[in-house]
Amino acid sequence: MKKTGKMIFIGLVLAFLYLPILVLAVYSFTKSTNIGAIRGFSMHNYVTLFSTPELVNMITGTIALALGASALATILGTVGAIGSFYSKKRTATMLNTLNQIPVVNADVVTGFSICILLVVVLGISKDTFIPLVAGHVTLCAPFVFLSVIPKLKQMDSSIYEAALDLGATPFTALTRVVIPQIMPGIVSGFALSVTLSLDDYFVATYTKPATFDTISTYVVNATKGAQTNIKTALWALSTVIFVCVVLLVLIMNIRSHRAERRGS
């Protein structure tokens, strides 16, 4: 009985999270332009989605930006975390404090101030994508840093010493011993970076080139507009992303199950 209560609660929260997405998914296969009466099955939203170059460019651009910026952020953040972990306390405190600023700062402020510095003060053109990438790396790297630090603290430092004693150079010891131990932190930092970059609207809106759109900036502009075919094509987009995420999760899950079985 009690378990049923718990399951109902979990179910309700899940329903809150998924109902809108699922309802849109259903409607994305219809001719309806509003939630309400269903006007008949149609794939036209998906055709629009994949045949409008504007939409396709925006999707691939967003993904490329997320992966690229996250890769950069992961490298910077990880290296920075290792460096800070082994630095003197004062340096480490300074790095930690600076690192905290983009985390607590409003994204709109991060985006604007980077835009002012790079574009207005230093005169770098937005078309070079440098401000955009720099903005996203600034947004993500601190989170990588934050997810690597605890792993460094939990690490068994004696192995590193042992490696040195056995004749490894510090560099090999670092790549062969330290990095593998903190790998879970790095991977989750990377994943978090991708999430943040994909979700970002505020930094992109101040730093992106005028002719480039991320999913967020595009959707926000499109919902202001009156073009219903674009609006409903975005329903299809949200459905496609949803399905991709589900597939990704399924694959990860199956793999971890297999690994578990092999392990036992």
């Binding site: 630095s87 600023i101 879970p184």
Partner: protein, 264 residues
């Protein structure tokens, strides 16, 4: 040779440069604008203006209102969810957890679009309940960010503590109140910081749900777009200061593992 040229400390340098360039410098630019007027002269009028203008104060209050209510609602939904999941022995626990994480990977603007359609269908006219809709939207957007850290913290709790409490005659309720709840505070703080700050500034949610009142994010953005960079920078700085104050009050209790390590 290697031992001398390569030191782990030097790894901190690139990240330090990066932070100086993209975090410290933009912040300095903000400080410059905040304390100057249109003629480039030093002034504290922007600061005085912030605390004497009923509109900035009202906006601050309104944002606090939105953020506090959102955070409380998120907490009320997230804590039981995370708790039930963490202590349950359900087989498909990880899958359910992933279900709660997945929405994070779907772009927020798309999810809010979906929510808007549903809310429009239910309420008819979104303009009748702007505050309520905003809270629903924010909760919908940020709930996963609250569930994860709390789940991580609770699932790491030492089970023997609970057992000890029971052995000492504590009922389930008492054990929860005296042991689990206090020990999960770091996770709660992590979650609150992931929800409270964005809820004060993510104005896209309000825009998309037809709430035409400004919150801090939109206020800053509107100063920037009204070419009043000086006033906008000052508001941004004051907001940052307020947030830092809160972080200090939260006092390092945050669960480091819960934030970064939360995704995988």
């Amino acid at each position: 040779m290697h031992r001398r040229t390569f030191s782990r400390k030097t790894l901190g340098i690139p990240y330090a440069i990066f932070l100086l360039l993209f975090v410290a410098m933009p912040l300095l630019v903000l400080v410059y604008y905040a304390f100057t007027n249109g003629q480039g002269e030093f002034t504290v009028m922007n600061l005085v203006g912030f605390f004497t203008n009923p509109n900035t104060l009202g906006t601050l209050f309104y944002s606090f209102g939105v953020a506090i209510v959102t955070t409380v609602v998120c907490l009320l939904l997230a804590y039981p969810t995370a708790y039930i999941l963490a202590i349950s022995k359900w087989k498909s626990k990880t899958v359910i957890l992933l279900l709660f994480v997945m929405p994070m990977w779907i772009n927020f603007s798309l999810r809010i679009t979906a929510l808007k359609e549903i809310l429009t269908f239910i309420e008819g006219n979104l303009a009748y309940h702007p505050f309520l809709n905003t809270v629903i939207g924010m909760t919908y957007d940020f709930l996963p960010f609250m569930i994860l850290p709390i789940y991580t913290t609770i699932s790491r709790l030492d089970g023997s503590l609970l057992e000890a409490a029971r052995d000492l005659g504590a009922g389930e309720m008492q054990a929860f109140l005296r042991v689990t709840l206090p020990l999960s505070v770091p996770g709660i703080i992590s979650g609150v910081s992931m929800v409270f700050l964005p809820a004060m500034t993510n104005y896209v949610v309000l825009d998309m749900l037809y709430n035409s009142t400004y919150i801090m994010g939109s206020l800053i953005g509107s100063y920037f777009s009204a070419y009043n960079w000086h006033g906008g920078s000052m508001i941004a700085l004051v907001l940052l200061a307020i947030i830092c104050l809160f972080t200090l009050l939260g006092g390092g209790q945050e669960d480091e593992n819960a934030r970064g390590g939360s995704l995988l």
